[in-house]
Amino acid sequence: MNDMAKVEPAPAQAIPAEPAPTLRFEAPPSTSLWAHARHIVAENPVTGLAFGLFALILLAAIFGPSIVPYDPLASNTNAALQAPSRAHWFGTDQLGRDIFSRVVAATRLDFSIAIFSVALVFLMGGLAGVMAGFYGGWIDKVVGRVADTIMAFPLFVLAMGIVAALGNSVGNIVLATAIINFPLYARVARAEANVRRDAGFVQAARLSGNSDWRLLLTQIVPNIMPIMAVQMSLTMGYAILNAAGLSFIGLGVRPPTPEWGIMVAEGASFIVSGEWWIAFFPGLALMIAVFCFNLLGDGVRDLVDPQRRN
């Protein structure tokens, strides 16, 4: 019912009679975006929390390896398997390495895998989907067939197969994660481009003499970006989970490189004997990161929806 308040057109004098010397085209001024962001955060503190966590993860990814108290790779057999203490906040593992340092240092790798794979699939899937939705015809058929074929596999299993076949490396994890997310991006972009292809405003732009390319760039893509942005922050979480899962079963990252999935795998055998901290803290870090990205997705959705900006 909040539509009721919205339909009332504000009286004309409510807006200051700005001289507006320059053309204000695309977005409203950034100040209003900030105001809107503040409003969103104030309205939903969980979103604020997500943005805070995201900042923390970003900081850890950038500065983590240089600020940690111990060398994440240095083993010290005298201090092996120690429970969390003041000296070792998260305890030590079977080789006496400081788990806190390793968890923080691993942020960069996990975060990079997620960012790069999402950026890759955004370019591939987004472009393919937009073209398929806008032009239809054979492009649509090809993109649809490729997406269907990928979707015919259970995605994690396909990722296993890809990394196993291409070789065990971080680059291939990024690629595999991008490939299994391809159908999702291609489909969303295709559907959005397709409904807008015949929307009134696109037809109107055709009448204004815009070429197809210009229609794509000025009318379709900017209107799809918000949805793609939401998609990206939601898949970030999935990308991290997927990469960690692969390294948990021994694909991609190799020991002793600090990475959350592999650290959980290393700690797994100690769970039954009660040394819970080895697996627990990297797992917790992983969980928090994924949780943060998922919440962020909802926050981004609120932020970019032009209807909600009033």
């Binding site: 269907d148 015919a152 596999f153 259970p154 021994g250 039954v272």
Partner: protein
């Protein structure tokens, strides 16, 4: 109805062809020496050459593809270096373990998720709605292997309620005669209740782990589609005609709301079959997933390839079943075909 099933069957053919081509490409075309993979890490150069000609890898690609497909039709997926058995036999022996685990996880998840999602939608804004939202967000954030380990720590190490996470059955228990391969059913058929209890105890934790993982998407979708349906015009009509709440929710809203949920099941299966691999590793479950992981560690390639292919074919079949189920619920699909 038959016509619809026939049509759905036709639509799976391109998927199956796609799956076969992709698995073929993964083994033959991409960089890396396939023969070296198949020969294993310890093989001599001579052995690799032998394997190359034995596998037909020195033939042109189309010829290789034809022989690949021919072998597939015969059910030949190669031989595992680790077990020395044909991959097909290995997979067949281990598939029931995975199926039992996956089904148990899925049923458990649905038993919790459907009522939770429906109640959350019907009582929007109540505590159950909030619980639903927490479950939906937390569930997708939990790495499945991490959940499994946490459960093991709490219920095995701390509380001692669960048996050691080492497979389907206690080492001292004897397996019942194999009928379905599903231990819970086979033990009941053999009236061996002692073993049934043991198998059940072993199954609980891994099944719960999988259930927690698949809970989130089902809950989320149930709640969302139920909310959408409850706001639909035809529900308003039903209410305005004085139908009871039970009739409105049970007959009018529920079946309509199930349509998107059934579609989501496809995605849930995709997640489950993947998560299965991780859960089997955590609980040393003797299914196809842990078989593939062992093969990965040993760089034994034929089992991995067989595993990927089997899972894909299985998944295509599951999607077909989901499509048919959808048609059963929705007359628009059934009648228009």
């Amino acid at each position: 109805m038959l016509r619809m099933i026939g049509q759905r069957l036709m639509t799976t053919i391109p998927s199956v062809i796609g799956v076969i081509i992709v698995t073929f490409l993964l083994t033959r075309v991409l960089p890396g020496d396939t023969a070296a993979y198949f020969a294993g890490p310890a093989a001599s150069p001579q052995a690799i050459i032998e394997i190359r000609s034995k596998l037909g890898l020195d033939q042109p690609l189309p010829v290789q593809f034809v022989s690949y497909v021919t072998a597939l039709v015969k059910g030949d997926l190669g031989t595992s270096l680790t077990t020395g058995q044909p991959v097909t036999a290995d997979l067949a022996a281990r598939l029931p373990a995975s199926a039992e685990l996956t089904l148990a996880g899925l049923l458990l998840a649905m038993a919790v998720a459907l009522p939770l999602g429906i109640l959350a939608a019907v009582k929007q804004g109540s505590w159950i709605d909030h619980l639903c939202r927490v479950v939906a967000t937390a569930g997708v954030s939990l790495p499945v292997f991490f959940t499994g380990l946490l459960l093991v720590y709490v219920f095995y190490f701390l509380l001692g309620w669960s048996p050691a996470p080492l497979g389907r059955l206690d080492v001292f228990a004897s397996e019942p005669p194999r009928v379905t391969g599903l231990l819970l059913i086979d033990t009941l058929l053999a009236r061996d209740f002692e073993t049934f209890r043991g198998a059940f105890a072993q199954l609980i934790l891994p099944a719960v782990t999988l259930a927690i993982f698949s809970l989130a998407p089902i809950t989320r979708m149930t709640r969302a589609s139920m909310l959408a349906v409850l706001g639909a015009d035809f529900v308003r009509t039903a209410r305005a005609s004085g139908l009871t709440n039970r009739k409105v929710i049970g007959t009018y809203a529920f079946r309509n709301a199930m349509l998107p949920v059934v579609t989501t099941l496809g995605m849930v299966f995709s997640f489950l079959l993947g998560a299965n691999v991780l859960v089997e590793k955590v609980f040393a479950w003797p299914g196809v997933g842990s078989y593939a992981v062992e093969a990965l560690i040993a760089s034994d390639y034929a089992p991995i390839q067989g595993f990927v292919l089997t899972m894909a074919i299985l998944y295509v079949a599951l999607n077909l079943m989901i499509d048919v189920l959808y048609g059963v619920i929705d007359p628009r699909v059934r009648l228009e075909g």
